[in-house]
Symmetry: C2
Subunit: 434 residues, 2 copies
């Protein structure tokens, strides 16, 4: 990926970062880069994720998936980082007709689960259940439900289930017991940084996508990591996002100009929110989509509080698709144009309209949305996030604040007495009813 | 809808609003309510939208749709408020099997448009093209492309197209020329406030949903509008969101605990962003989804900056769907539980975990997600937004900041010389390349 931070400069935007401030910040980027390289070399928790392009073995992943035989429908059961990376990749590349429909069961909404299962022919379906610990409540509950649905449909789930999990735990035990194909989640790789491991790639393999190209794209991005933000697109993005947050851009709207990256914006939201949102710090990610959200959120970003950085992701190659002539006077400007040309013009216009209003924005450019470029984008944003974690001085690889609710949930289900469950009973209420 | 603002009180959360501050604010709510009622009585632009439950005629909408004959696939062509209300309603109610697949072409991404059209059998499809002016570039471009696809498939589009537009303009002229069924968009109703008009209801009618129940639910909510936030759930929500924004909660994360309301959160984002984001004011809407985003965004909302109000939307009735017994020790707490019970426990736990960390949150409760309750929710949030507009002192019904980009787009397409298009050429760049 290439990054253009021109519209984030103080000469354009408020908040904005001056060139001298960027140069001072670059000294910290140099130190952070050393820290990151040490972490990678020593395979420390989290930093190890930045080694995945060299360490993930596509053959191993493909070998596990071939045990499933022909798959027309893939049901991935996972939540958070166990689903979003895989969904991002298959959604981004789905324009290649792979003959495989993908579903991600990442919620425990009973009506939705039931409707989804009822709509599928399970005969040609396979399950990929993903949880490092093998104990994630939502994932295991959904897996048990899906397994039962296979049984009810007369399909032997043990021939149609692949397990993606850590070395031990209930799912690993289940795989051993039933001889299920299994891939392991590498040590030191938090869920939201696992897109370039088996966690993100099993679904892509089953869809027949080019895993090597994804990893090569990521490796090419890894090769750009350097001690200066002026030499490394990923660090340029991470450093500018951090600098703008410090200057008041507490919101970061991720706005790809292609439907294929809509899920990527969700993946990014988890990466950015869960990694950096701690100790009272962090920048709030917002998902947007060009051109659609020009008709929704743009008014706020251009004229609301000066608290938002808009991050565009823009493929350079966009197919044309001519717009048929209409002979309508009011649409004269569309004569001879194409959908692609219109998209392009609207992107340029939106970017310029924010700059003209002094609103900071950054452009991330890809050649096109393909396996290689996608690998680069995912790796680049992970590296940007790790760098930002260093600059904020937070541990980007933990998520301690979600533990309270997990204990409270177990308490609510009656598994254990807990202060957390008791707190639920003491809720302050002020109800206004219809 | 019922609203519980207990966890937004200063006794629970920081930022929070004290009871005395709420009582002072309630005087302003009283004046705002009078202004709103005057606007409704005089059918002023925008305020008129709050009269829709009494003025929308379901028979008229249904009559127009019957001219299309049998429809198995409905393609709605519109963008922003011309698509989101209709998509919200059909997505929320899709658990009723209606036999109609709905697609919303709300982007000009050429690859996506092509793939979508190629995947459909157009023989049994119908088009609803929605644009008040009849000149919205994205909508007209897509309509011309879809019309051509129908012709290429040998389907007479003139027998399969319904037009939703204003009294004049190219679409109205087209409808007259070809004798197309048409419904008109009522005067004084901005796109993002049009869900309860034909704009939002044509798709629901074609799907066979109960338009009367939607409008009755909205009317019941309208009946609660009163001069005090303590008597009106919608005003309680709008006032508390405003008060919290003033106190630092500049972000509002809308987090329904049901997949059926995922699109509703997008609709809400447009409503809130485009109505209130002006003059440097406004609160940034973020879309979230329970329980999924507990594994994504929750870390940030509980431990990041104290700048976020989390708004839960929670149906009281959730189906059970038993989780089959697994005999796994680590999952003992799930034995005998159901997906619905798990969802419920996780909701309570998440709400309490935010309160325990002193993070403001509001609970909006529906009986269930059905036509009546949905009508109430949409009306309630519109009324909340109008009230918030009064409290901010902004015009909630315009979107002036998006005009710049529209002129720039036309300039880019060569339709006219413009200063905006010239500004695009002068972009400041600072590129970091791979």
């Amino acid at each position: 990926m290439d990054v253009d931070i021109g519209n984030a400069l103080a000469s354009v935007a408020t908040p904005g970062v001056s060139r001298t401030a960027l140069e001072r910040l670059d000294e910290r980027v140099g130190s952070a880069h050393e820290r990151i390289q040490t972490g990678r070399a020593e395979r420390e928790h989290g930093y190890a994720a930045l080694n995945l392009p060299d360490e993930t073995d596509p053959d191993e992943i493909r070998a596990a998936t071939t045990a499933l035989g022909d798959v027309e429908t893939l049901i991935t059961v996972g939540i958070g980082g166990s689903a979003l990376g895989a969904a991002t990749i298959t959604d981004a590349l789905r324009s290649r007709d792979t003959g495989v429909e993908t579903y991600f069961l990442d919620n425990v909404d009973p009506a939705w689960i039931r409707a989804t299962l009822e709509s599928l022919s399970l005969e040609s379906a396979a399950i990929n259940v993903v949880s490092r610990s093998g104990t994630t409540a939502e994932t295991l509950a959904n897996f048990l439900v899906v397994r039962e649905a296979f049984e009810a449909a007369g399909v032997d789930w043990t021939t149609r289930t692949l397990v993606t999990t850590g070395e031990s735990g209930p799912l690993a035990a289940l795989a051993r017991e039933h001889g299920l194909p299994a891939v392991s989640i590498p040590d030191g790789v938090p869920g939201r940084f696992s897109a370039l491991s088996a966690v993100g790639l099993v679904a892509a393999a089953i869809c027949g996508h080019d895993l090597e190209a994804i990893l090569e794209g990521a490796a090419a991005e890894a090769d750009t990591l350097a001690g200066s933000l002026f030499e490394c697109p990923a660090y340029a993005y991470g450093a500018v996002a951090y600098a703008l947050d410090s200057r008041g851009a507490t919101v970061n709207a991720m706005m790809p100009y292609t439907e294929s990256l809509e899920t990527y914006a969700e993946w990014y939201a988890q990466l950015w929110a869960e990694s950096l949102g701690k100790d009272g710090l962090g920048q709030t990610p917002v998902r947007a989509l060009g051109v659609t959200d020009q008709h929704s959120q743009l008014q706020l970003y251009r004229a609301g509080p000066r608290n938002t950085l808009v991050t565009f992701v823009k493929p350079r190659e966009i197919p044309a698709y001519p717009i048929p002539m209409a002979g309508i006077d009011e649409l004269a400007h569309l004569e001879g144009a194409s959908l692609g040309g219109l998209l392009e013009a609207e992107f340029e216009a939106t970017e310029a309209s924010l700059a003209a209003a002094g609103r900071p924005n950054v452009r991330i450019e890809l050649e096109r949305v393909d396996a290689f470029e996608l690998g680069g984008l995912l790796y680049g944003m992970e590296a940007a996030c790790v760098l930002a974690g260093e600059l904020y001085g937070v541990d980007a690889f933990t998520q301690p604040a979600v533990e309270w609710a997990k204990r409270a949930t177990r308490g609510q289900l009656g598994a254990e007495e807990s202060a957390e469950a008791a707190a639920i009973e003491e809720k302050t209420t002020l109800r206004i009813e219809r």
